[in-house]
């Protein structure tokens, strides 16, 4: 059955490997995926451990539903202490890796230590081997995977790899699988690199036994109808995730030229429709691909149409690349967005962090905080397409003073640049904001400020807040599975009711991340997509575990609290500008200048923002300083952590 998948503890220093079952008590308490990873991280690392040292635990997992008959359960999650933030590190990606790992017998790997020389881990139907990676060290993301195929003489092997950025310990290096499935944010690729671990490769043919297979298939049909029937998924299946950027830029919610503006005007060439035209021209009409078990197919395949990288194949770009190599750096060229996307995919580097670091350096350059001498003569003005592509490469290989400084991540870089450069750094907890500008949307501002891995739209963003849904619709969503009769507002420039929405979404996203389901299959971008009420049946039919929607909600709350406990243990405090639940002062001081009429002049009112944080803490069961109350920990069964159940 799905639940007989195990945890492997692998020590790269000693070569010791230990395999253990996952007790049912642990499953019911944390489910799997990101939630159980958080528990494992809290239990298998010590306070203050060096993120790039052998004592950091690198945890790789699939959700509890991974490789079952449930839809879109391809997600792979990776967690460790982050070298970018010094707090919780976490990334989540689609593709085909986690199901292969489940078929090979495992749902979780806990990797500690450091190999003496480059290595990779090969898992084949329950057997784990640490192999020499001397011949693949230095290779790009895709070349690494093809080299492993050749070495093992098996093209069905799925690998989770790092590129040169991970080897060079770029603080925001990714873990990657396939061409563009990126475990981005928080530098999990650097943690792999620090362990001399180039890849984890899996091949599995061990059946995952489904508890009620026919009923599970039948119920999944209903699920598929619900998912493919959603307008948002029909749009994604046509334009991919770039449609999100297009819509956001249209009303003025895209941060532009670092944070000077909130809209990139005349951006027609990087709009999703234009990118779709390029994909059609270069790959034909059927260029949309999907992950394991997904019907949405949001991943475009394309070739770069012109310029230095003409003809190079890649996938995506995700909406984040339009932000990173478009608006943030003031560029309006599809070629730059597609080439930038290709470079970070091949180097294994986070597109959001890379684009943000370059955008920050550009503003510092234009403000005279970075000199032309420090850029080795590169004109780092906004809109310089060539400079953007050059800087991506320089960061990956830590070339020149600035390339090396930017590779360290925002806060260390601002200390190197000095003066008031920190003021220009658009970050939370040391992680750069994504491409969106939340000055007109208080709920989204609260989301990024309080996310467990730093500024992050995938932890608690109530994106449906932007749809102006009637209050009765909002209430239908946000008062299930636990009752809520407090205020809710359809107006997304308002502050009322938003803390509850953020709290609800935080639990919703933790639930899907622990189940192993893609966020595009839940209440993220579409109000009509499955959530707590739908999951118990999927869970039961596939795994036999009986849980109510309320119980899944409680698991999600517990898992989120473990992440908070980790951050508190590592020094996070509410008002710390580097590690706290706070926004850059520009959110409060600089009003929006562009976009739709009613976005103009908007900014986040500090007092109201602080009141939202207070209320959000109350919903979570935290005190005014963001520390969990004893009663909350008891209620969630976390009063004795670390409890070392596994």
């Amino acid at each position: 059955m799905a639940l007989d998948r195990k945890i492997a503890y692998i020590n790269l220093t000693t070569g010791d490997i230990e395999v253990k079952p996952i007790p049912m008590e642990v499953r019911k308490k944390f489910l799997g995926g990101r939630g159980l990873d958080a528990y494992l991280l809290y239990n298998h690392t010590e306070k203050g451990c060096d993120p790039l040292g052998p004592d950091n635990a690198l945890i790789i997992s699939g959700g509890i539903l991974c490789a079952t008959l449930a839809s879109a359960t391809a997600r792979t999650h990776v967690m460790a202490k982050s070298p970018l933030t010094g707090l919780l590190g976490s990334c989540n990606m689609g593709g085909f890796f986690a199901p292969e790992m489940a078929w090979a017998g495992f749902h979780h790997l806990v990797i500690k230590g450091k190999a003496e020389k480059p290595c990779y881990i090969y898992i084949n139907n329950g057997e784990i081997e640490i192999r020499d990676a001397a011949n693949i060290w230095g290779k790009t993301v895709t070349d690494t995977q093809w080299a492993i195929h050749d070495e093992l003489n098996d093209k069905e092997v799925k690998s989770l790899v790092i590129g040169p950025a991970g080897e060079n310990l770029v603080a925001y290096a990714n873990v990657m699988t396939g061409v563009k499935n990126a475990g981005g944010r928080t530098g999990m690729g650097a943690v792999m690199g620090s362990k001399n671990l180039k890849a984890v490769s899996c091949r599995g043919t061990m059946d995952v036994k489904i508890t009620h297979p026919m009923e599970a298939l039948e119920y999944n049909k209903k699920f598929i109808e619900q998912i493919t029937g959603a307008k948002v998924n029909q749009t994604q299946g046509t334009l991919g995730t770039p449609f999100i950027w297009g819509a956001t830029n249209s009303w003025g919610g895209v941060r532009t030229e670092n944070f000077r503006y909130n809209q990139l005007e005349y951006a027609d060439d990087i709009e999703p429709e234009r990118i779709d035209e390029i994909a059609t021209e270069t790959m034909g009409p059927y260029h949309m691909a999907g992950c394991f078990g997904c019907q949405v197919h949001c991943r475009a395949q394309y070739k770069i149409p012109s310029g230095k990288y003409k003809g190079k194949y890649d996938e995506g770009p995700e909406y984040t690349s339009q932000g990173a190599f478009g608006a943030e750096v003031g560029c309006r060229s599809a070629e730059t967005v597609l080439a930038g996307n290709h470079l970070v995919d091949q180097f294994g580097m986070d597109n959001l962090e890379t684009g943000s670091m370059i955008a920050w350096a550009m503003e510092c350059f234009e403000e005279g905080l970075i000199t032309k001498e420090q850029t080795d003569g590169i004109d780092l003005s906004f809109g310089n397409d060539e400079a953007v592509l050059e800087m991506i490469e320089r960061i990956c290989y830590r070339k020149g003073w600035l390339g090396d400084v930017l590779a360290k991540g925002g806060i260390p870089a601002s200390k190197n640049v000095g003066k008031d450069s920190f003021d220009y750094l658009i970050q939370v907890k040391g992680m750069a904001n994504l491409h969106s500008d939340e000055r007109g949307t208080p709920a989204l501002a609260l989301n990024i400020a309080t996310s467990s891995r730093g500024s992050d739209h995938l932890r608690s963003r109530p994106a449906i807040d932007l749809y102006h849904l009637p209050e009765k619709v909002l209430r239908k969503i946000y008062s299930t599975p636990v009752p809520y009769d407090g205020p809710l507002s359809s107006e997304h420039t308002e502050y009322v009711g938003k803390p509850w929405q953020v709290f609800w979404q935080e639990n919703c996203y933790m639930a899907v991340d622990s189940l192993g389901i893609c966020k595009y299959h839940t209440t993220f971008l579409g109000a009509t997509l499955p959530n707590f009420e739908n999951w118990p049946k999927v869970l039961y039919l596939n795994t036999g575990i009986e849980m109510t929607p309320e119980e899944i909600w409680e698991v999600a709350r517990r898992n989120n609290m473990i992440e908070r406990l980790f951050n508190l243990r590592e020094g996070a405090t509410r008002n710390d500008p580097e590690k706290g639940d706070v926004l850059n002062h520009r959110y409060h001081d600089e009003p929006c200048k562009r976009g739709a009429i009613d976005v103009i002049g908007k900014y986040i009112v500090k007092d109201k923002f602080d009141a939202m944080v207070d209320e959000f803490y109350e919903h979570k069961g935290l005190d005014k300083n963001g520390i969990p109350k004893k009663s909350t920990l008891k209620e969630l069964g976390l009063e004795n952590e670390p409890s070392h159940l596994v």
Partner: protein, 97 residues
């Protein structure tokens, strides 16, 4: 199980209320529904005056591609001027700069 067979979940029941052939104005406090003519590539919000370029995902599903830049840019610039002047006046009243 928590829910009886044939009883709809919240998400399923909301699915039945969806509308097709319309888009919402991108102006946050307007958000009026705009019904573009079938196949049209432009539409104007009758309520707030913003103009948008339209793309059709399928014949029933239009989406806003983006603003008509020149039109909406002018609206935005006028509005920003208004907001800035109002802020200055308010500051003057309080005796500040």
């Amino acid at each position: 199980m928590a829910r009886e067979e044939n009883q709809l979940t919240g998400a399923e029941s909301l699915q039945k209320t969806r509308t097709f052939g319309k888009v919402r104005c991108h102006n946050p406090s307007c958000m009026e529904r705009i019904v573009p003519e079938q196949g049209a590539d432009h539409a104007k919000c009758a309520t707030c005056g913003m103009e948008f370029r339209i793309f059709w995902i399928n014949p029933k599903l239009p989406r806003i591609r983006g603003p008509v830049w020149d039109v909406n840019r002018k609206i935005a610039q006028d509005r920003f001027k208004e907001v800035t002047e109002a802020k200055l006046k308010a500051a003057e009243k309080k005796g500040g700069k």
